[in-house]
Symmetry: C2
């Protein structure tokens, strides 16, 4: 008894513990793998091929290790005996190898996905949202999806495509959650219970993707989950924390920081700078909406076009080729997105270093041009990349675009201030040292990153918390928040939907958004099927058979024979039927699903030989003893759902939508004076909301 | 149009902006006031009486300022010309003044509360919880409550009673939210909308109380709010942040830290130390439950006892006298709770300072004894203090108890490790330097604080986040979390209710807990009134009039006269009646509240002279033209609620409770085959849950 209840209470915790452990380990392995493969594009470690460039150069004990100067790291042209690194042929060979590896990796990724697990492509967050709202997609969180997505993620992110590992990491964590939940029957066999584990898994996914356990919980709460009770929150936090600790233990980045872009210095800002930060927010909202619009257009085109939709492998190869060929020539796009972001977030140190962004001379203007070019290129290529059939996330590309835009604005503001300060008589305006104390381009990059990510995903609190955990400082909360707020307002003004909601709509998933408000003046009877107007029309032209079909199909609790039921099932395609006392009274008794009734009739036909087509089916309590001579009756009360949800015909749709959302209903019956009038399904609700929105 | 909708969308933001500004300013003023008045117990600043001791000594430019050595700070005995600080008379006078001021302040506080605003007493969090769940307490969030609670809070916290300012700060912030919401008709006139503002205010309250904006939002989500949509979350965050920034601007503590107990050094911990941390959690769970049990027992005794309950002023005076008289003799209880906690959280610096806790010699064992004594005293006195009629919170006393307990355990573990290390042959067990790198009593104090606070309030995620924002470091998240988890598990094992839920139950507020699960096998028809069994009994003994009254009182949609209605209202005390087609069919048409019907009848009697007692009231659409000779009919359809919530008699109570919780219902009608059988109100649900829990 006590032991049983203890196990019962503990099972959930043990399950999320396992999920956390596995998610942390998986993320570590993927990080290490992606790093190594990404470096493979330029060369290989001479004597220990399993090391990436950084570790290779570390272990080779070169006296001074800087970007390219490491003997142990064998560049590909060296293999072919070209050593003159300034010759055209050398550079050309390097370029060719770079492209070749990139295309090979991404092609391998798309092949894996296509052959073994078609669900492993994309970011997976739209689907996770639907699954957490109650939609079931068989196999979407299965072990094959997990394996292929892990491998594919390493390959695709190493190939240098403009995509991130972070979204797919959430999908992977949910796969882990799903797989482990089968170890605990309480969770594995109950979809609602399983979703609690999945919510916790999503939190763990973000936790390992960004090193942000609290941000992960808030992401799961704000973005991913539909129903998030407090118990789940606490478990999610535990799961996210375990995953984070494990990832730190694996230590894939060779540093002791859990945060991805650790900023271990103070960045001060003045109140006047909130104006450029708000401008960044504005920019983020616009560019985010633009991105969503363009990406959805392209995705729809891909869906409808046979040439494009039917040849995902060629598409991936072409995109990779273009990405690799072009990004090779820009130092900001050539390096991995993560190190680019780190560079943009960093402030300029006192010592003049090699960073072109910190040089106040000519190098800066070159870098400025490169940044501008990188921004445009990233924006365009990401539109075409997000949606190709490899595992690909959108967080890092968005953060990257935002960081570039922010840094550009930061450099501009910095230069303006310097120019003003240099003008005689204006130097006393500034009590702070520009670039050291007050105008810090690195901070602008951070704020820009938050703004664009906000514009694309429309996250709010979780975004701010993730950004602050990402950089490890509470100092930036106000600038980040201002930018996120403006980005959200502008973005929502242009178009209500974030990228995930837009993809959900594109794919036609039955997802009921739990956000917005719908103060409609419509009542239930205007939305239900069959519609009132049509019924009135019926009365006027009784001969119109097509219209008659739109009448409510009901089952009476007694009096219908097996044959009647079977023909009803054949003639209609509804998923369920209200059961009423009689066709005349239409008083509601219960509800029965098509599935249950089919199963029951099938079983009866098979196991009860005396049940024939003429047998009367009884859903009521009082079944008469079999009439002598007549066929045996069939008792079906136990498959009847005696507690269907009902609303009256005058119930406002606002309340009905609220019920669907909060109670997770699939259908509700509409009654008037105790009589069944019609039915409203989740599909009707979605249709209704779409119509209202487009008006 | 556009302007209107823009204002509509912006009003909420502007409202929470104001709330944040006001909450931050209020908190700053209260902090400064409480600080000054608290120091008043020992003396006054010689030339500038408005300065507290610290600022007085700073501004007097004493070369070396240490605890007591400041000439500008005039102790009370000096005023009476006693200067020999070691004489018995001096100490006695100091003691008398200390007690006198304390009693005077708390008496003033209780007088203010009793005369001007009785709602200003206590912490207010239980009531806020109820208000946010839909319960209306008139005047609880009014401006008088706000003013008196602010003043009373300064007085009561300065008097040295074992209470905190943090809980009442949440109440004050909610008052501010309520007051400001009246500036915006959209929020002021709609209770549901107003609750959104109140949720944000609660977050701001915690934000200013602890300097923890994220913790505030999570507190509002986890503990205070009942319904917390995402939009509210985002606004709460904004509100909490604004309040935090303003508080930082006011800078009441004279430091630039927003966090209350800033710990600006690394505290390392080893995995083996998770065992003592878990022990602290265990202790926290036990002591928390014990506290709740004792406090509730005492509160119930106070409620029922005339002597005690009728004389709140004497009670406060006695408690203050005892607290002041005893706590004066212990250095840890004499100083304010906040500085005691700060001292306990601090680690021992390298230089040997005056802190007795860091001395490895005799002073430590004396301090150990004092800590033990302080823990016992605090525990006992807080039981009697929480619930007296002054503004008083529970956060700081809980954190204080926990910090003492944690420090005691920390010192013990520290001494054991040192002893083991000193034993020959064991020194190589430790690679770290005890007290410097690994066993840090300050960390134990923090973990203990979280454990006890968790045991008392049963908060989880918000507690961990508050603790981490309180100390400003992510390092302690794992130890804190382990302790909180154990504390929660143990506490919930002993008794399910936290202190706030316990007080809600004690006061009999209609609060439907949104947490736990209730997998009951009961169905709606077993809970509804009138109960089935009684109906059956009725049929057997039709003469039993008392039983007959338990029949469902319904109104028919037509056919009842004004006289019938009025007698029905007189004979019953139900708050609402189902309206049915006829007494025979009992088919549901709608629902009408007693209030509405009374109002309608009253108005009709007054304004429509032709309506007489015999007039027939029609709730249906088709009202017959007035019968010639008969009295004029009365049309009441428009006061009828046409969309009452219904469930069938076979609906599991789990679903019904879910509906009440998530949809915020007040009652639900139970139907069977379209006929009304009975009604379930929120009270019935609460009664049912209580019975189930006590079984």
């Amino acid at each position: 008894g006590l032991l049983q209840s203890g196990w019962d209470a503990g099972a959930g915790w043990i399950c999320v513990l396992f999920v956390g452990l596995a998610a942390g380990a998986t993320a570590g392995i993927i990080d290490i793998g992606a790093r190594w493969m990404s470096d493979l594009k330029t060369g290989v470690c001479a004597d220990r091929f399993w090391l990436d460039r950084e570790h290779c150069c570390w272990s080779s004990n070169d006296t001074f290790y800087k970007d390219d100067d490491c003997k142990a790291w064998t560049k590909w042209p060296w293999m072919l005996n070209y050593y003159n690194s300034s010759s055209f042929l050398f550079l050309f060979l390097e370029w060719i190898f770079y492209i070749g590896w990139a295309v090979a990796m991404s092609t391998l990724a798309v092949l894996f996905v296509k052959i073994f697990a078609p669900y492993a492509c994309g970011s997976g967050i739209p689907e996770i949202k639907c699954i957490l709202s109650g939609f079931v997609i068989r196999g979407y969180l299965g072990k094959w999806t997990f394996i292929i997505k892990s491998v594919g993620l390493i390959l695709s992110s190493a190939s240098g495509l403009s995509l991130g590992k972070e979204g797919p990491m959430v999908h992977l964590a949910c796969c882990i959650g799903n797989i482990f939940s089968y170890l605990f029957p309480k969770y594995g066999l109950n979809e609602a219970k399983k979703r609690e584990i999945l919510s916790a898994s999503a939190a763990a996914g973000v936790s390992v993707a960004f090193g942000a356990p609290i941000g992960g919980v808030l992401f799961s709460l704000e973005e991913a989950s539909y129903y998030f009770p407090l118990k789940t929150m606490w478990r999610s936090f535990f799961c996210a924390l375990v995953a984070g600790i494990i990832l730190r233990f694996v230590n894939p980045f060779g540093s002791n920081q859990t945060s991805l872009f650790h900023v271990d210095y103070m960045m001060k800002w003045t109140f006047i700078e909130l104006v450029p930060f708000a401008l960044l927010g504005l920019f983020g909202g616009i560019i985010g909406s633009l991105f969503i619009f363009a990406n959805i257009r392209w995705s729809r085109f891909r869906k409808n076009s046979k040439t494009l939709g039917g040849n995902p492998i060629y598409e991936v190869m072409i995109i990779t080729f273009i990405t690799a060929a072009i990004s090779y020539f820009n130092p900001f796009t050539r390096k991995s997105a993560l190190s680019m972001i780190q560079q943009l977030f960093d402030r300029c140190e006192d010592q003049v270093d090699e960073d072109s962004l910190c040089d106040q001379n000519k190098a800066l203007s070159i870098a400025f041009g490169q940044l501008l070019w990188a921004l445009i290129f990233k924006f365009i290529i990401t539109i075409f990349t997000f949606g190709i059939k490899v595992p690909c996330g959108l967080f890092v590309p968005s953060i990257g675009m935002g960081a570039i835009a922010g840094r550009i604005l930061g450099i501009t503001v910095d230069q303006i201030f310097r120019a003003v300060q240099a003008t005689p008589g204006h130097s006393e305006y500034f009590t702070c040292q520009i670039g050291k104390d007050c105008v810090m381009p690195g901070l602008y990059a951070m704020v820009g990153a938050a703004a664009v990510l906000g514009g694309v995903t429309r996250m709010t609190v979780s975004l701010v918390v993730i950004m602050f955990e990402l950089t490890g400082s509470l100092e930036f909360i106000v600038p980040t928040m201002v930018a996120t707020m403006f980005s959200k307002w502008i973005g929502d003004g242009i178009s209500k939907m974030g990228i995930y909601e837009a993809h959900i709509e594109l794919n036609g998933y039955p997802f009921l958004d739990s956000k917005g408000e719908y103060p409609y003046s419509t009542v239930a009877s205007q939305v239900m099927r069959p519609s009132i107007h049509r019924q009135v029309a019926d009365e006027m032209s009784m001969s119109d058979l097509r219209e008659l079909k739109n009448e409510l199909s009901v089952i009476t609790e007694s009096g219908m024979s097996l044959g009647d039921l079977e023909s009803l099932l054949r003639q209609t395609d509804f998923n369920g039927f209200p059961v009423v006392v009689s066709q005349n009274s239409m008083h509601l008794v219960g509800f029965i699903t098509r599935r249950d009734i089919l199963l029951a009739l099938h079983t009866a036909r098979k196991t009860q030989p005396y049940v024939v087509t003429n047998s009367i089916a009884y859903f009521s309590d009082g079944v008469p003893d079999s009439v002598p001579g007549g066929p045996a009756p069939l008792r079906l009360r136990k498959i009847l759902d005696m507690a269907p949800m009902t609303v009256t015909d005058q119930t406002p749709m606002e309340t009905v939508i609220d019920m669907f959302r909060k109670l997770g209903l699939r259908q509700v019956l509409v009654t008037k004076n105790g009589k069944v009038l019609g039915i409203i399904t989740k599909k009707d609700i979605l249709q209704f909301m779409r119509n209202k929105n487009s008006q």
